[in-house]
Symmetry: C2
Subunit: 217 residues, 2 copies
Amino acid sequence: MGKPGPKRTLSGDVIVTAALALLDERGAEAVSVRGIAARVGVAPNAIYTYFPDKAAVLRAIVDRLIGEQGLEVLAGDRPWRERIVAVALGLRENLLRHPGAAVLMMSAPMDGPRALELGERLLDVLAEAGLPPDDAARASYALIVHVLGSIALEAAEVDPTKPAPPEAERVAARRLAFAAVPAEVFPRSAAAADVMAAYVSEEQFRWSLGRLLGGLA
Amino acid sequence: MGKPGPKRTLSGDVIVTAALALLDERGAEAVSVRGIAARVGVAPNAIYTYFPDKAAVLRAIVDRLIGEQGLEVLAGDRPWRERIVAVALGLRENLLRHPGAAVLMMSAPMDGPRALELGERLLDVLAEAGLPPDDAARASYALIVHVLGSIALEAAEVDPTKPAPPEAERVAARRLAFAAVPAEVFPRSAAAADVMAAYVSEEQFRWSLGRLLGGLA
DNA sequence: ACCTGAACACCGTTCAAGT
DNA sequence: ACCTGAACACCGTTCAAGT
């Protein structure tokens, strides 16, 4: 139904998919309007039929990735802390698959509908946990800050122009870097080098999230 | 002393200062090698005498800003939590003066000497607080994640191309944005709109940092 | 409505050359 | 050693035109 219209070889979704592929394969600076257009086989300015500018394409990538996180776990019947940890782990896993995207999440206000939905479900859980509304609101923000901050710092450690390395590899690379810390001037950092290498791991992610959750209620 | 050498009209510091000024006055995308060169009155490629590439200039900005944070408070005799809150507030205040720089802190590993120094002093405090070395190491990372994440999300809310607005103005702008949230579909978000508007405030920053600190020891 | 061609005002970086 | 001029291979975005 509806008139066919001229060509319609394109769509916002196709553009976002191409942009994300570019981001994953060749890193943030490869995500150019011209690069996206070339990948979908179209003239550069055709992109502007679907997005007002490049920044809008980047925001759409963020929205897509947030939306990929299912929120059903939050409504489950496990203890509330476990449910929050489960979504946080899901977000982490997905975002680390797109390391270049992590920093995008912190570059603009996340005010899209998917972000609001995530926030609202988080408020549900925290209310159920017994927090008064004001504390629940503050706590939900603290959680989002912590999860996104962890992921961004973790993603900053990986080279986005090559396929995402397994965690063990990231930790090993960091251990190597820490071996160079002079123990005379930074004794504690040098002594804790093994732990500091493991900053970029799920274990550290779980640990710090657990401590924050412990402080919240 | 020492031969004068040809010109020496430039230095790494001068370049970083110019880049930071550009960042503050006209936002992240105005920080170009050519823009910096123009501001210091030099040919674009002169920058490459002091930095291998643009990314190195950005890292130097991060290092400069970390270095501006005095660490004496950490060694004071107030209760340890208060000392950590004090440096965190200092970092926040300084970074919000350079909103475009906040996201740079999360874009690359912070492995410079100033970052190491900050980490080491944090470990001092946490050891003094009675944490075993492994926990202290994990805790210091959790704190850094939280502080930088908070600041980045807060800075994402301000337009970096105009002078940093006072906090009250940022909160008011956000309250206005939240007034549009449909209460039927996001009841909790709408009900807590006032608190959510205040996410971008020192009060929220103190609150969530306090909860994290409570969970750590 | 959707797409193209051509153009404008920019980029980062490299290279050979001047002092 | 430090800086310049000129060039290369790119950018994002706009405008007029075609279907």
